[in-house]
Symmetry: D3
């Protein structure tokens, strides 16, 4: 495989990943994560108690909201608050982030506590949802630790049963590539976001033929790339968390 990518990466190489853990002075957990030029601020807000529909069930709740700053993109977008409605893409990604985190949370062990994760894209250059999930995990882990220190979560309760990260993969000119930057994303025939736990199990597989539909062999190649990329992300998360 030759170095054909615009930024000099090999096909199976992540962009430079950085995680500024504890960026926020106020949130119970936070991380400013970068996948290259994509920067997402993830904060975790811990509340003792659960929404009304969960009260008395001995279980906690984890949810997420994703949004983009209006000028995080090349062209300024109108604010969803000004438009008065949350767009379909925003909804879709918020739900994806929430599901991904709930997959590695034991809500019984969490107890009747709520953690809301906010993922705000400060700068977008492709892969914002995968960066959001990867950073959200770090914020979540710190919020869980905070809840334990405060005595809201039992000392030995294992609320986090695994770690979770996500990466995009895609096919350009027939070549499967890892972690697409924006200019690659718009050219990709197929685009897939893969959410994987630290143990290498799938949480979400979302593949979409943007151009031509794809066959089984291509799907397999993309899954291979995504598993390897997520393994690397898990390592970086562990490092950030000082584990």
């Amino acid at each position: 495989m030759t170095d054909t990518r615009a930024d000099g990466r090999t096909a199976d190489q992540l962009r430079p990943i950085t995680i500024e853990r504890g960026w926020s002075a106020q949130a119970e957990g936070s991380a400013l994560i970068s996948f290259g030029n994509t920067k997402v601020l993830c904060t975790a807000s811990f509340t003792n108690g659960v929404p009304r529909w969960l009260v008395g069930k001995g279980k906690g709740w984890v949810t997420a909201e994703y949004a983009m700053l209006p000028r995080s993109t090349n062209e300024r977008m109108d604010r969803e608050s000004v438009k008065g409605r949350v767009g379909g893409r925003t909804h879709e990604i918020s739900r994806l982030v929430g599901r991904s985190l709930r997959a590695i949370i034991d809500t019984k062990a969490l107890g009747e506590n709520t953690i809301v994760i906010d993922c705000d894209v400060l700068q977008a250059d492709g892969g914002t949802r995968t960066a959001a999930i990867t950073g959200a995990y770090v914020a979540l882990a710190d919020a869980v630790a905070w809840g334990r220190e405060q005595g809201f979560i039992g000392k030995n309760a294992k609320a986090l049963i695994d770690t979770v990260s996500a990466v995009s993969v895609g096919i350009i000119d027939g070549v499967p590539l890892l972690d697409l930057a924006y200019t690659e994303d718009v050219r990709a025939e197929t685009d897939m976001n893969v959410v994987v736990t630290g143990r290498g199990l799938f949480v979400e597989v979302q593949g979409t033929a943007e151009g031509a539909p794809f066959d089984r062999r291509e799907l397999d190649a993309l899954l291979d790339l995504a598993l390897a990329g997520n393994a690397e992300l898990a390592r970086i998360q562990a490092e950030a968390l000082g584990a």
Copy 2:
């Protein structure tokens, strides 16, 4: 594989599928499709012309909207019109149906015409989005035929480059099952919606771990089931279209 499903189906068996083509007296294409007790009314509205942002590019546009009647479900849901906003799930599925149809449309061959597909769930028993996509294709095909008869689409323009259908698959108690009914859907550990063209290529693969994350082997088994199920759906679509 033994008959363990509540409705007596084998693991790899679709529910009874029926397609009432041309249900609507007014739409340019329409189909009332049933996947067992799931019933979705799909209508295709053909308009000569395209949205402003596409004018003069020599290309057409296909989009879709999905919605559920308030009492299509066991418990009545509030109307989204009354709530004043479209929910995240509705947005997500509308976008999925639209992308699925665009994957098999050659928008240049379609010419400067717009087709809007409405998929309204009259009764829901699991698999509403897959029934919607499968029925939408039939409505779309008839709308394209109508556009050709009216002279809006060129006589030899091949606007439809393939067919498309969708089916859900999932794992219950470790067993991969095809076309989940609602009672199965809520029990599934993993739930996947797979959109496939008539030629057997993937358009969308959306797998979600509702319970435990899944491994590569399980993913492969689900994809096998889905490809077989979609092949059967393509056959039923062809029959409905008298092809």
Copy 3:
């Protein structure tokens, strides 16, 4: 009176009326009603309990919502959920259907139970609001029967004190006509919707001069037609309910 109507009806003749009682597998009462090509799906959702403002008053509540599918009409309409607001006409008809049903309900006999009637127009060819009321009654009657079987309504409580139906009447070229189809509706100088109980009493009289204002004699002729039409509808409802 000669056969001058486009569909061959006499001036005082209803379109073919059909009622598919129990169309929905899930609602406590339902009917798919047709007035010619106008098709409305009416479902009744029964809930034990009442809205907060009625609790403890020993009375029940019946309300209704009316809506049209986007392509129930000749030209596709935008969805009200997407527009983010319910239109004036929709509001107006929802309120009319609700009032019409409450006129024949004894809310004390109903007890602290709520019935919500949804009337969704699947296909529109004039008279959608009158078909909605007529079908809604059938769904309501079955929901009341269901509530009685479940023990939520007293065995001898006479919750339904009468039946109710509705029909449109109008004047075209000076001739009063019963049950206008869409093409007649748009030509009518005067358009009136008349809601009548099985005993022949008025619940609602809504007459509007679309063209020239009308005089007392014309009003009387329209009311005569409407009473006769509603008597026929009451007979058809009784038949559908096996009374």
Copy 4:
């Protein structure tokens, strides 16, 4: 008929009606109308030109909006602007006022001009919609006169083909009453709003059984009352307009 009404009126007597024509210093036509304690400010805004969908058809447009101040009623109501949506009753009445005015406008004679009538209820004591229609006519007449003076309407164009007014009637304890005050309105078994032209023709008849349904004889008695009441209102309008 004895003086049984709380305010000493006979059954067929209007409340004191006053019309302050030209109340607004800015609108092209205006009237502050009182039906007893009900006070409605009606303004007419004249614009040369029509909405886009009417351009080039040589016809004008008249429309109306009705609203209540939050403390026009006994209990303060939330503002619809704050709730973010216009309620069903507001919609319904706005539409009624608009239709009533259009019934006596010759839109061709009006030419490509638009008149928007705003009816804002400053104080409500029953009959706000009928006061609104009656006052709106006065504002409309002055706006038409203004348009003629400005040369926007042809000198000899007869844009107003009749006058229009409205009054409520109802049955309390079996007695038909004219022009219900709020305390009467809430007790009425039947409530009817009747919009009539100066020539005594019906524009709208909206009768509703709030309590028991009503029979043909009662309906006739109400219509008699309403015609007489509207004749009196037409006289008062003419006086206000100095006709």
Copy 5:
């Protein structure tokens, strides 16, 4: 200083101010206030009890809402209820009126009662927010008196600790002017609204350079004018309240 103002006033002269106290038959306090052609209807709605977040704290709550009728201005504005959202200017002024009133209320003495002030501009000719505050005080004072008579406020509780009024000042062609009319307002280089208590203390000072920024000396001149104007307004309020 010469008489250069369009309406013949001197630079330091208010427009004719009138206050119709008790305009509304229904509100617990009300005033129709005029600053020249600017007319604002202020009503105060008294409720025993407080919003949920204040319950049990032994304190009351005063809030305000400001709005303009659509044709209170030269050009008709769309209704905010129809647009589905409250505009920034409306929000801003509602908040200003509320803060101004709370500055002279002792919420402990008010007890657990709520007073909502509605300020609806019937006619606008500049200074609507200052007229609103000045009239709102009169309505508030009467509502407090009403609450005391009803026994909701303690006999000796001094809920009103001062009076409050407001006036605009501005600089046109370098000359500081008091109480700008609309035609002056649009020409002003600097526009300031000053809310002052009866004792001559500042509650709000909101100065804005509409044209050129202003210096300290100009600011001082405007504050002098505003203090004098508010002293005069306090006198007129006292007169209206029969104090």
Copy 6:
């Protein structure tokens, strides 16, 4: 004056101010500004062309939007996009920022170009609106420079006629303080935001008595502090811009 402030500042001392100019890789101008722990990301989006209502007038347009991330505060706030409406405080501040910037822009010299400034609060510790204005100026200056380099603004057109910054001042326990941190802000009896140009002229003066009303002497002391603070901010802006 003794060091009585929690963070050790003197009464007339700003918090540490930092400006990361050019933080965004995409915006035409940007600055991440900190006033102590308050951090605001300001981006300027330059578009050639103006809104429709300005076309052909030879003038440009500058506007601003302010918003807070949901967890920029101690307690998480709901997103305005999710609530479906922009709150009053947000509206108010967006308008303030826009007016402040327009005060130092010569829109004729800007030509038919539009600059939208987004100020997103990443972390809030008091003074977010003053930090927003101060940072917005830096982003604006760079966007103007960008527009000149691109040839959209004339070479010698002096679009920026001055600089602008803002600071808060307030009175706590009778002592006037500069640049309030959040814990000071909530205790302040009086709170004032003062927007001043580089030449020391006032653009906005917004003083509010949160507790007791204030007198003229206090107002003067606050204005003195604010002028000195803004002079320092102007120096820091110049430094950041390398002037």
